[in-house]
Amino acid sequence: MTEAATETKLPGSLSGQGVSKTYRQKGEEPHTALADLSFEFPAATLNVVMGTSGCGKSTLAQMLAGYLKPDEGTLTIDGAPIEGPGPERLMVFQESTLWPWMTVQDNVIFGPLSRGENKAQAIAAAAELLVRFGLIEFRDRYPAQLSGGMMRRAEIAQALINQPKVMILDEPFRGLDVMTRELMQEYYVRLFEDTHLSTVFITAELEEAIFLADRIYIMSDAPGRIVKTLEVDLPRPRDVSCLTTRRYAELEQEALDALYAGRDDMDF
């Protein structure tokens, strides 16, 4: 992988120093999601952040997307500090966030139109993406008429039309049924291998993490810190057969050891 060489040229490297965040709510004790978290997500890499629910991974995702400010620490994209939401860092949430009252096409062209781009050009760009994602016949349909997998693909198209530097996906395939989930994983791996779009993929599923990742960052329970970084050197292009290789089993064990480090009830 000539990842180091491409890193300086390709945009979308993310980093964080000493990031911490504590949620304070009236009537409840404060909950520290992140404490002194530092990380480097290189560009043009499929970075997978993994941890149990409640370890602060969604908090990290929202901070990278600019929806949440850290209490302390700094977050940067290609060296520049992250101030707030912006089209260069787009996020796909756990639940579909297509606007139900807009057709698929209106959903996709909302970004370009918001930034004053020419409508005809935006529609053309959207059409091209929808063809590639197999959604072109559903262009005038409403999200309620799409299947789970189709909604996710429409959301990825909605983001890609804005040529973001980084895609942030927060457990995007969690709500899908088993088969749709596996197909969407393959789908995103193909997309990444074609575009090398810098990606931060959040998940709680180890199999999904290993199948997708160039690199896995395993987070401890809250307050989340990265306890292990795992280089996934499975060959690309990835397909289902790599799940039955010995290397996969070894990576799985290594990841499980890190996930269970310090957990007493996992002594078997």
């Binding site: 993994m50 149990t52 629910s53 049924d177 088993v178 088969m179 749709t180 596996e182 197909l183 709680a204 599923e205 180890l206 199999e207 289902v240 799940l243 039955t244 010995r246 089993a249 070894e250 799985e252 064990q253 499980l256 996930l259 269970y260 957990r263 009830d265 996992m266 078997f268």
Partner: protein
Amino acid sequence: MSDTQTSAPAGPAGLAPRPETGRLSISHVGKVYDPDGSAVVAVEDFSLEVAAGDFVAIVGPSGCGKSTLLNVLAGFDTLTSGEVLLDGTPLARPGLAPRPGPDRVVVFQHGALFPWMTVLDNVTYGLVKQQKMPRAEARRRAMELLAASGDLDQIAGSFPAKLSSGMQRRVEIIRALINDPKVLLLDEPFRAMDTVNKNTMHRHLLELYRRNRKTIIFITHDLEEALFLADRVIVMTTRPGKMKMDIAVDLPRPRTRAMMASDAYLALREKAVVAVSEEAKRAFERGEREMA
């Protein structure tokens, strides 16, 4: 084709001896939904002999009839053809109206702890309803079981909504086991769980199985989970659901995580993964809907 020799009565160290009850013999079971209408064949000519105390996993894509089988065994649904015997007595037959009962308790996929009852009331519900023992003794027995499984007795007084999904699952399994059922039916119980919780649940289920051994029928779509937990893995074809493969898992018990990287385990997986993904592809081509 399927080698139907019954698994050797292994009695590895630490595993409780085989119970006398819980022998299931499923012969030529068939289930057709809406026979005169769309006549959907969910299960076709399915036969399986389960020795008392065996842990059998049934794996297959959606629409392979695994939930239908469970519903028939649990008594939620009738049979169209074939017969099921439990310790020799007929359990389900086309004429015989099914009757759910505490001898075959189900742990449901989306969880079915009564939200309006405390953990303790949930666990003692079965014993109290069947008047098997006075309430006080039922409570004592429940607290014992809860304490033994990761000291859940501390949350005996709280409502299920306050528990994590993992804890709710463990309570639900205890609620089933406390009735001393002949067969425990698990319907994809760990499906929505993340890796860490899933592995914790595997450990607890194996621990409960080791301590009070019951016949277990474990439904799942996750082959790896099936191979890791069960003595036998039945791979189903997609609709109509038939037995495609019957794999004997002779990994020693108690099962440890390290075994998942062992050659024996990888060989077993190699054998099964092809069968399962073939069925998954066929199910997907037919646009098989995931039965919610």
